[in-house]
């Protein structure tokens, strides 16, 4: 392995040395978990990439690889990208965490940025968005809009990020509608239109008239449209093609400002390993247009909550909140700290399901 490291080191040193001397463009690579046409998660990351290209013009060159499985193949994809002379590589899915750390160790001069993970190194930063702030607004709208009082939730993997979203949506739905029930289906995929459609149909069959999703395709919205009378939200991307109904609003991930800032840092030589977790305030999370299908007063309340989340006057997890087992998590007026949120592995009181394990 040592031989390999030296070899890699030598190659990258040569590549980067050459780049610096010739004033070549900064090469930025992206590893995507889905196809760029998924209409959700990967689509938005790719929009961030295009924004980088537009912002820097000839000074950057971007490359990407889509639909990279989270495993041995990811490690190879990153290594080949680093060997091709990339200076900065964004790995945009949680499952790339260990591969990113492994490959980064072999390429000390290449900068890596891993989305939604928690492992860092001298040349590995992490970044994520406070999607749970958007979930709070979604929960509010969902709680007001449901008539059957049954809300279906298509979850992906039982990791803290997803559990946080379920809790945030539930707390705010319950606040405006004490009778609301959440029915959670685990799809165990980030992107699989067929599975997502099955999950949506199953939830609708069980009486849900609002579908929330933490998966990346538009299939649940298509299922809601086919059924009629069921609403949903755009996930990760605006999914405006389903507006004004069934898509009544959306959570949009806007990675462009972050990507541009990080590329700039590499150009300036000021790049450092950091941990970024931005929400509505800094603009990493945006709320898509709330359509006319939502009553005006509900839309106004939602926008007021958005403003409060943005200026920090309201935190999406403000006590009193009990855990599912009835024990006190947050006292009256207390807000959740980032550490607990980052590792959240429990449901809040009122959710009847169990986290699979």
């Amino acid at each position: 392995m040592n031989l390999m490291k030296t070899l890699f080191g030598a190659i990258t040193a040569a590549a980067i040395g050459g780049a610096a001397m010739a004033e070549d463009p900064v090469k930025v690579g992206f590893i995507y978990v889905g196809p760029i046409g998924d209409g959700g998660w990967t689509y938005e990351h790719n929009k961030g990439r295009l924004a980088v290209e537009e912002h820097f013009g000839d000074k950057v060159e971007t490359v990407f690889q889509e639909s990279v499985p989270e495993g041995a193949d990811a490690e190879r994809a990153m290594t080949q990208m680093a060997l091709s002379g990339a200076d900065l590589i964004f790995t945009t899915s949680f499952g790339y965490m260990d591969p990113t750390i492994n490959v980064a160790a072999n390429f000390p001069d290449v900068k890596f940025e891993h989305a939604t993970g928690y492992k860092r190194a001298d040349n590995v930063s992490t970044y994520s968005a406070r999607f749970y702030e958007g979930r709070a607004i979604q929960g509010h709208i969902a709680g007001k809009m449901t008539e059957s009082n049954k809300i279906g939730y298509i979850a992906s993997f039982p990791i803290p990020e997803v559990i946080r979203g379920i809790n945030s949506a539930y707390i705010h739905a319950k606040k405006v509608n004490p009778d609301v029930e959440f029915n959670i289906v685990w799809a165990y995929t980030w992107f699989d239109p067929a599975k997502e459609a099955d999950a949506a149909n199953a939830l609708i069959e069980q009486g849900a008239d609002v579908i929330l999703q933490h998966t990346d395709s538009t299939a649940p919205l298509a299922a809601a449209q086919a059924k009629g009378g069921v609403i949903g939200f755009g996930q990760a991307s605006d999914m405006a093609e389903y507006a004004p109904f069934p898509r009544v609003s959306s959570i949009i991930d806007d990675w462009a400002p972050y990507y541009i800032a990080r590329v700039q840092a590499v150009m300036d030589g000021t790049w450092e390993s950091t941990d970024t977790w931005d929400g509505i305030g800094p603009g990493m999370v945006a709320i898509g247009e709330i359509t006319d299908a939502v009553p005006a007063e509900v839309a106004e309340e939602a926008m007021a909550m958005k403003a409060a989340l943005a200026d920090g006057s309201y935190h999406a997890f403000t006590g009193p909140i009990n855990k599912q087992d009835g024990s006190v998590w947050l006292a009256e007026g207390e807000t959740a700290d980032d550490g607990t949120l980052a590792g959240m592995d429990f449901y809040v009181e009122g959710l009847t399901a169990e986290i699979p394990n």
Binding site: M4, G71, A72, S84, Y188, N357
Partner: protein, 361 residues
Amino acid sequence: MITLERRPEPSRMWQAMTPILAVVLTMIAGGLLFAVLGKDPFEAIRTIFWDPLFNPQFASYSRPQLLVKAAPLILIAIGLSLGFRAGIWNIGAEGQYIVGAICGAAVGLAFYPTEAIYIFPLMVLAGAIGGTLWAMIPAVLKIRFGTNEILVSLMLVYVAEQLLASMALGALRNPDGGGFPGSRNLQQYPSAANPELIAGTGAHWGVVAAFIAVIAAYVLLNKHLLGYQIKLTGQAPRAARFAGVRPNVLIALCLGISGGLAGLAGLFEVSGPAGQISIDFNSFYGFTAIIVAFLGRLHPIGILLAGLLMALTYIGGELAQFMLGIPSAAIQAFQGMLLFFLLGVDVLSNFRIRIKRKQVA
């Protein structure tokens, strides 16, 4: 008018030529596909077939990766080819691969964190047994009830995938994994790890096993009675029965061997390159190996070469994706063309093309 005339026996020349012809046709059709997508077809083909091997920037890394990617394909395809020769169609190698990986990893994880030299051999054994037993389900059902092994083995892939998901979420999940599905990483557990044996070569135990399998299959087919029986059964089932072949034993043997090898491939993958049992651990090796088996003409040496070629299209395909911006779906279509053209031009080894004048009535 063009007619096809069945040859009295398959043409040896065409049998050797069709894989090469299929590769050439794939390059042409793939080149057209890439051209339609607005990419330079020559550059694309060069990136896929040449760069992983000879581009100084990538070759030192890509060449060893070729072995890493080819080893499971070869190992599985060798097993499948024995059955295919005898007309026993194991389509479910993907499932046997998964079950082998689960059984092998489970044995390793059961010993965690004990360090001992016997752990890895036990895992290898468990992997082979797991794959064999999974393949014995279609074998027993076929022998006992005459069910179709194609359907049963294929359906069992989906059962195995569900089993894999439940293992990654339940019994084998990493207790220190923060709730994320997936087992402990076996690469970080020395007694259970399947590391590179010689640094920089990519060769792990699975590569060694693949080479042994190629040699063993070659000897079996050419020097051993069982190999003769397999070939005879494929060519003339009735004659084989007169020659003393017991079909039921042959079904069990062929499915068992192919399942065992697929299980081994799964074990070597989970303890080596993949490192852990995860929900999407299986990466279609079991299905791709079917292409490899046919591309290699069901011949051990042919399979060795076909496995390396297939691995090359994977690794070169990845290069082409990010170097040239070719969509991953186009690369998959390109790989699919390989089997399509192979089956298409296979007609030439069994049939002769005759051009006849139209008969006047």
